[in-house]
């Protein structure tokens, strides 16, 4: 991967979030737009991830979560996450980030308490996994910008569809 100084990315992202806040009165709408933009990024980024990491197929959701945390975050953001807090069924877990490049240089004013500043990341994960047929819910549940000690993204597998021949037999 070609690496660059992260400043240009981090500052453009911050400037974009400010613009979205100016565009929308409702902070929830800003969160939704960030997620939506991330989703479309994820749909592209998945091929770069798969092609360049030379990942073999993931056998289950556990392995998928692990790859996102260890390989995906490393490859694009040069940081890693840890996977924790699995539920008993193995369908829900948390990605814990101690270090989040998006929030360098950022402090949130109090009136933006509901802003999920890094919500783009959730959209990216959702978009990327959708492309490999995993339908997930993804949300920030802890955020250093809002006073927590780490960033925590909760990841919930809703359905992972089976492979089926896409054309009808008589087609």
């Amino acid at each position: 991967m070609e690496m660059i100084n992260a400043e240009i990315f981090t500052l453009t992202y911050g400037s974009m979030v400010r613009q979205l806040i100016a565009d929308h009165e409702d902070v929830e709408e800003v969160n939704a737009q960030l997620d939506k933009m991330g989703f479309s990024i994820g749909q592209r980024l998945i091929d770069e991830y798969l092609a360049k990491s030379k990942t073999q197929r993931c056998s289950d959701f556990r392995e998928t979560a692990d790859r996102i945390a260890k390989v995906g975050f490393k490859m694009f953001l040069n940081t890693t996450a840890t996977v924790a807090n699995w539920n008993a069924e193995g369908t829900e877990c948390s990605l814990i980030l101690e270090d989040n490049p998006l929030t360098d240089f950022v402090e949130l004013p109090e009136q933006l308490g509901a802003l999920k500043y890094s919500n783009l990341l959730c959209g990216v994960i959702r978009g990327a996994l959708e492309m490999v047929n995993m339908d997930v819910e993804c949300a920030f549940v802890r955020d250093v910008l809002r006073g927590d000690d780490v960033y925590e993204i909760r990841l919930k597998l809703l359905s992972s569809s089976t492979e089926a021949y896409p054309f009808k037999d008589d087609d």
Partner: protein, 174 residues
């Protein structure tokens, strides 16, 4: 903090692309031009502030433009400007023969449906227009941070070569 932090170059590619797609599809709110102008100018100011932090103020036109051509271009667009021309009356043309942000831009020549005619070819300038708003605004913001009020336009007729024209409108207050 952040000084030596790195991320993949793709991150900024994807973000710039998502910004254009987002504002192209917004029914209300600011136009793409207005929104990306604001996003880019703010970012350009912040970047110039960082890059020029430890140097004396650039009070000479040419010095300021050269700073943009070398340091700023190098950091943001990942190479130096290839050619700089000026009419010595406040207009500068910066030529980047391989403008990295748009080097992969190409029209899809696939007909929408099999058997339909090929799409009419669009000029490179038209294809690139929306994607050049952010780079122009970054440059304008950087110069604004240095105290220069500059109008920036870009000509992508010969993509991947892009010519950026800077017209200096106001000198900084001494």
């Amino acid at each position: 903090m952040g000084k030596n932090r790195e991320c993949a170059e793709s991150c900024i590619d994807y973000l710039a692309l998502a910004l254009v797609h987002h504002y192209r599809t917004q029914g209300q709110g600011p136009s793409l031009q207005a929104a990306l102008d604001a996003v880019g100018e703010r970012t350009g100011r912040q970047l110039a502030e960082r890059y020029a932090r430890d140097r004396p103020p650039l009070l000479d036109q040419l010095e300021a433009v050269k700073f943009v051509c070398k340091e700023f271009w190098g950091e943001v667009f990942r190479k130096a400007v290839d050619n700089l021309r000026t009419n010595h009356r406040g207009t500068f043309v910066l030529r980047d023969t391989q403008f990295r942000w748009l080097v992969r831009l190409a029209q899809n020549q696939m007909p929408a449906q099999v058997g339909q005619p090929l799409p009419a070819p669009l000029s490179k300038a038209d294809l690139a227009a929306d994607f050049l708003v952010l780079p122009c605004a970054l440059v304008r913001g950087a110069l604004a941070q240095l105290g220069w009020d500059v109008a920036v336009t870009a000509d992508a007729t010969s993509l991947p070569q892009v010519d950026f024209t800077l017209v200096i409108r106001q000198q900084p207050q001494r």
